[in-house]
Structure formats: structure tokens, C-alpha cells
């Protein structure tokens, strides 16, 4: 079953009098349970593609069906609802609320989904336990290490049980070992049947996925299956 079906989408920006084709013509399908990496150098259009896939932005042309719903013409509030229910974001810079503790950060999407407080807290605690941070619930981001922050962000992405997890350079701000841990966590999440889309420019990171989409100049240059994908070993921080 396809979660994502994109047909001939293009994104054109008007810069002064010039038209910039960030995405020229992209078509792709992503199935439920796939682990896809989107790769490309900067300026390739991979960020634009990620923004569109994440319903943060809409394409200028083409059709984007998400779970068989056309989201390419939706308004801001409709997109917000899709992002809230169907997409879990993990960012390079974690993007946690600095003044809130881990628990509250994880609760946030549930607040916007209208989940009552008691239920919300329970689910957030569960998600934090899932990423191995049961004992760090009341720590603020500045009291957590980079790896722990990213785990909080992953818990936040998972807490709504979204259709896809969209990770944008999730290891970009982490050292190699911590990055490895995070990738191991993604692997676990993948193995539990979640759909993951990973945006990266590092070949090594991309090889954790089972499929790599290579983007260049706003076009998909290559859509390849990873024959021997890299399976990271667990360092023991997370408990499944």
C-alpha cells in the first residue's frame, strides 16, 4: 500500500524576475513500512522535496497523494492537521522547546491533537520510555546531551503514531558514536513496521536505509535498492 504517491511535482520560486526550479519534475511512490533515504548535495532540491513530503510546503505543480488524499491543494490549517496526525518530524537541530522539559516537548503534538491531559502524559511517558529516556522526563533540553535531545525529538515524532517519520539530517549535529546510537534507534523503529524517510547528504548514513533516492538539480537521478544495508548495532541505551 502506498503511503506517498507523487506525480510530476514541481516547485518554482520567484526570485526577483527569475524563476528558480527547486524541483523540476519529481514522481515517486513510497510504500508503508519502507525505509527511504533521500540524498543529494546542497542545492539539489532535497530540502524542498522534504518540505513538500512533510506537508510544510505545497508544490507549484503536480499532485501529492498522502494516504490517498490529495494534499497538494490544501490550506495551511488542513496541512497542519496532516502534519500533526500523520507525520513525525526529526530535525538536525532537534528543534525542542528550550523552556519545556522532555515530557512537555513530547506532549506537544498531542496538545494540538486535542488529547486530554492525563491521556497525553501517559502516552508521552510511554514514548520517552521507548527511546530510553524514562529517567530524563523532567529535564530540559539544556540539561540533556545531544543524543538525548535527539531521542526526545524522536519520542515526540513517535508519540502520535504517525504514518511516516521524516528525519532531516538527524545525525548532523551529533558525534559519530551518538549518531550511531540514533541510527540504531531508527532501525528499531523501522523494524517495528514504521515508515521512515531520511534526508541526508552522507552516503554512510543513507546506507542505513533499504532504498536511496538520489536527487540532483530538482530531478530524481537514481532510485536504488540498497543490497546490503548497514544495520547498526545497539549500544544499549534504548530499551525495546
Amino acid at each position: 500500500m502506498n503511503i506517498i504517491t507523487i506525480e510530476h511535482i514541481a516547485k518554482i520560486y520567484q526570485v526577483g524576475t527569475e524563476e528558480v526550479h527547486a524541483l523540476a519534475d519529481v514522481s515517486l511512490k513510497i510504500d508503508k513500512g519502507e525505509y527511504v533515504a533521500i540524498m543529494g548535495p546542497s542545492g539539489s532540491g532535497k530540502s524542498t522535496l522534504m518540505n513538500i513530503l512533510g506537508c510544510l510546503d505545497t508544490p507549484t505543480k503536480g499532485i501529492y497523494n498522502f494516504n490517498d488524499v490529495n494534499v497538494s491543494q490544501m490550506n495551511d490549517n488542513e496541512l497542519a492537521k496532516i502534519r500533526n496526525r500523520e507525520i513525525g518530524f526529526v530535525f538536525q537541530t532537534f528543534n525542542l522547546l528550550a523552556r519545556s522539559d522532555a515530557l512537555h516537548n513530547v506532549e506537544l503534538p498531542l496538545i494540538y491533537a486535542g488529547v486530554p491531559s492525563a491521556d497525553r502524559k501517559e502516552r508521552a511517558k510511554e514514548a520517552l520510555a521507548h527511546v530510553g529516556l524514562a529517567d530524563r522526563m523532567h529535564h530540559r533540553p539544556n540539561e540533556l546531551s545531544g543524543g538525548q535531545r535527539q531521542r526526545v525529538a524522536i519520542a515526540r515524532a513517535l508519540v502520535t503514531r504517525p504514518s511516516i517519520i521524516l528525519a532531516d539530517e538527524p545525525t548532523g549535529n551529533l558525534d559519530t558514536k551518538t549518531g550511531e546510537d540514533i541510527m540504531a534507534l531508527f532501525n528499531e523503529i523501522y523494524e517495528q513496521g514504521n515508515t521512515i524517510i531520511l534526508v541526508t547528504h552522507e552516503e554512510y548514513i543513507a546506507e542505513h536505509a533499504e532504498r536511496i533516492l538520489r536527487i540532483r538539480d530538482g530531478l530524481i537521478e537514481k532510485d536504488e535498492h540498497v543490497k546490503d544495508r548497514y544495520i547498526p548495532k545497539k549500544n544499549g541505551e534504548s530499551k525495546i
Partner: protein
């Protein structure tokens, strides 16, 4: 709706956290609102107090009493028009009494000002001397503390008796009871038969009802000459709802009595307490509104401060807005968040303002019979909230319109 309440809790928590995180800035911004609220509430308290004082000073006129006289109290235009009118005479009063039905009591009065009263070598100037009948006690709000009011016989016979106010008692009889003592007015002795209850001073201490002397009409003419046209007929209607009917009845009767031809204007006036109220509201009321508007300017300046700081806050928290939007906050969630923050700042300012203006109103209370009314306090809180929402709207709107992609990229 359920979503709204769930989010509102979050929104309130965020706002409180944000305000606490920027204590100094919050205090300084709120200061503008505090000053504005103090100015507006203190001004309102003073204005309400002023009106209360005025109303209590005219309350002795009675809300259900009509005063028939030659000229209106609140004359507009040409005074000579009224001055040349024929006097209202005692005969006219007697005729009126027989012709009208809608009344509880009716009394003719003549007054004069500034007569000197003497007793035992001491003297005092009375504020006003009334010549009237025994019915005056019922048309007025006068009460006796000691002795009795003049009766029908006193009036018919024109006995030289009088009722005096507390100020006169205090001056002339500091150590003895004035009852049955003789005071001299223009050299003519009058026996004191009653003392009137203290009424307190009039509007801003201008005119004291306690300097009053009341005596029979005929006795009055012996000290102040005949009724030189200052006769006023006081008609107590007894029911405010019947005031207009009574007025028409009196008007009709007076036109017949004074032989006013049909089509001609009345050559007399029917006055009532209401006229004073209207005059007050038309003159002092306008000044009061001007005062409120001017003090409200300080609140306006405070509102600009709030708006300014909210713009700064929105810019500072662009990234946070981006995160919230990415995670699923809708446009109205963000709008609400910043509106609530602005409103909360202002309401806190309003509360502090009230804490300051309450003791200030106790100072106002030294001069005017009022403290901060709860309606003004409630209004102040409401106004603060409205100021917050209005001044926070543009920044909040800007925040809610941010594109999540750009907002997330903001550093």
C-alpha cells in the same frame, strides 16, 4: 470546542512561562498599563464621587416634588423674559390647591438669604430663611431632632415661631437648649419651637442646609416685606411615576389661574430635581468625559508599549513558532497563544494598577463620598484584557501567518 479548552491550558502555561522568562521586560512593559489603569480608575472614582456628592446635595429637593415658580431653575437665554413675568401669589396657590388632585402635600414657600439671627449678644448669619406652611414638612425632607414643627394654628395666626438648623444652634446655643428661647431676626423676636436634624453640607461644602430657618409665611412677611414674587409652590406628588401626569395637571390649572390665553407660552415654570441632574450631566458630564479621554491616553501609550514588545517577542520566538507549526499547531493556535500572552501582561498590569489605585481612592474619599467602586475595578480588568487583545493582535497575526519552513530556518 474540546480542542480549544485543551489548547487553552497549554496557551496559558506558555504565556506565564514566557512572561516569567523575561521578568524585567515584562515589568517595564506592564508599567505602562499600570500607570494607565491607575490614572483611569482614579479619575473615574473621582468623577463618580463628584456626581454622588452632587446628587446627595440635591437629594433634599426630593425626586417626587415639583416646584412651581415664576422662572425655571435652569434658564436658557433671556433672563429678562422671566423677570418680567407676573409673580405667583398666595391667592394663586390657594386656587391651585383646590384645582389639582394628584398630590400628597402642597406648600407655598418664600425664601430670603443672609439674614442675621441674634440671641443674647451673639449673632450668626443664616444661609436661608423660608416662610411657608405646616405642609412644608411633608413636601421637604426635613426632620426634627427636638421640639416640634409649626402647626396649622401657628401658620394661620402667623405666630412668630421658627425652626432652626444645627449650625445656628451651635453658634447661638452652645450650652443650652434653644427650645422656647427667643431669637431676633431684623429686631423681631421669634420663639424657637424646633431644631432640625443635621443634614451635612451641600455640594463641595458650598451651601449648608444646616443654616436654615423655617417660619410661618405671614411671620416671614413681617421681617422680609411682602411676598415679592419669590413665591414657589412645592407640590409633593408622592409617586415618581405620576410626576408627568401631575405636571400636566398643574400646568393646566396654572394656565387657567393665571389666565394664559390658548396658544401662548406658559408664564410660569414647573421645576424638579431632575433638571439639576440634567444640567450637571450636560456640563460636568462633558468635562468628566474629557478627563477620562485624557487619562485614557496614558493607557493608549501603555498599549503601544505592549504592541511593541509583542512584536519583539514574536520575532525572538520565530523558531518556536516554526516548531509548533511543524508539529501541527494551526493558525488560530498561534494567534491565540500570542493574544493570551498580551492579554495576560495587560491584566496583570491592571491588577497591579488596582492595587495602587485602591489606596489612592481612599485619599479621594477624604474629599468625595466614594471609594473605588467594584464596577470600576471590574471595568479596569476588562479594559486591560481588551487593551491586551487589541494591542497584541497585529503581532499575533504576524506570528500566526509565518510560513513554517521559513520559521524553522530562522536562527
Amino acid at each position: 470546542m474540546k480542542n480549544f479548552f485543551i489548547e487553552f491550558g497549554e496557551v496559558l502555561a506558555i504565556a506565564l512561562r514566557a512572561i516569567r522568562a523575561n521578568k524585567m521586560r515584562s515589568i517595564l512593559t506592564t508599567l505602562g498599563i499600570i500607570i494607565g489603569i491607575v490614572a483611569v480608575t482614579t479619575m473615574s472614582t473621582a468623577i463618580i464621587g463628584l456626581r454622588e456628592a452632587f446628587l446627595s446635595s440635591i437629594s433634599s429637593l426630593g425626586s417626587d416634588v415639583l416646584y412651581v415658580s415664576k422662572s425655571p431653575w435652569m434658564a436658557r437665554g433671556n433672563w429678562s423674559l422671566y423677570r418680567n413675568r407676573k409673580n405667583i401669589t398666595l391667592e394663586q396657590y390657594e386656587k391651585l390647591q383646590t384645582m389639582i388632585k394628584t398630590y400628597d402635600a402642597i406648600a407655598p414657600t418664600i425664601s430670603t438669604f443672609g439674614l442675621t439671627v441674634k440671641y443674647n449678644g451673639k449673632s450668626v448669619t443664616s444661609s436661608v430663611v423660608y416662610g411657608t406652611t405646616e405642609e412644608y414638612q411633608r413636601t421637604s425632607t426635613i426632620e426634627l431632632e427636638q421640639g416640634r414643627f409649626m402647626n396649622e394654628i401657628d401658620v394661620k395666626a402667623g405666630r412668630k415661631v421658627c425652626m432652626i438648623g444645627q449650625d445656628i444652634v451651635d453658634e447661638l446655643f452652645p450650652f443650652e437648649s434653644p427650645i422656647n428661647k427667643e431669637v431676633k431676626l431684623n429686631g423681631i423676636p421669634f420663639k424657637v419651637i424646633g431644631i432640625m436634624t443635621k443634614q451635612g453640607s451641600g455640594f463641595l461644602g458650598s451651601f449648608s442646609m444646616d443654616g436654615m430657618i423655617i417660619m410661618p409665611l405671614k411671620a416671614f412677611t413681617t421681617i422680609a416685606g411682602d411676598e415679592r414674587g419669590r413665591l414657589t409652590i412645592n407640590v409633593k406628588v408622592g409617586d415618581v411615576d405620576k410626576l408627568e401626569d401631575a405636571k400636566e395637571e398643574i400646568r393646566g390649572a396654572m394656565r387657567v389661574i393665571r389666565k394664559v390665553p390658548p396658544g401662548k407660552d406658559d408664564d410660569f415654570a414647573i421645576n424638579q430635581q431632575e433638571a439639576f441632574k440634567q444640567m450637571y450631566d450636560q456640563t460636568v458630564g462633558i468635562i468628566a468625559i474629557a478627563g477620562i479621554v485624557i487619562t485614557a491616553l496614558s493607557l493608549f501609550v501603555g498599549a503601544i508599549g505592549i504592541m511593541n514588545i509583542m512584536f519583539v517577542t514574536v520575532t525572538e520566538r520565530t523558531k518556536e513558532i516554526g516548531i509548533r507549526k511543524a508539529i501541527g499547531a494551526k493558525t488560530w493556535s498561534i494567534l491565540l497563544q500570542f493574544l493570551v500572552e498580551a492579554a495576560l501582561l495587560c491584566v496583570m498590569g491592571g491588577l497591579v494598577g488596582l492595587l495602587i489605585s485602591f489606596p489612592l481612592s481612599l485619599i479621594v474619599n477624604q474629599f468625595l463620598p466614594t471609594t473605588l467602586p467594584w464596577t470600576v475595578a471590574a471595568m479596569a480588568i476588562m479594559i486591560s484584557a481588551i487593551v491586551g487583545v487589541v494591542s497584541g493582535f497585529l503581532p499575533a497575526w504576524k506570528a500566526s501567518r509565518l510560513n513554517p519552513v521559513d520559521a524553522l530556518r530562522y536562527e
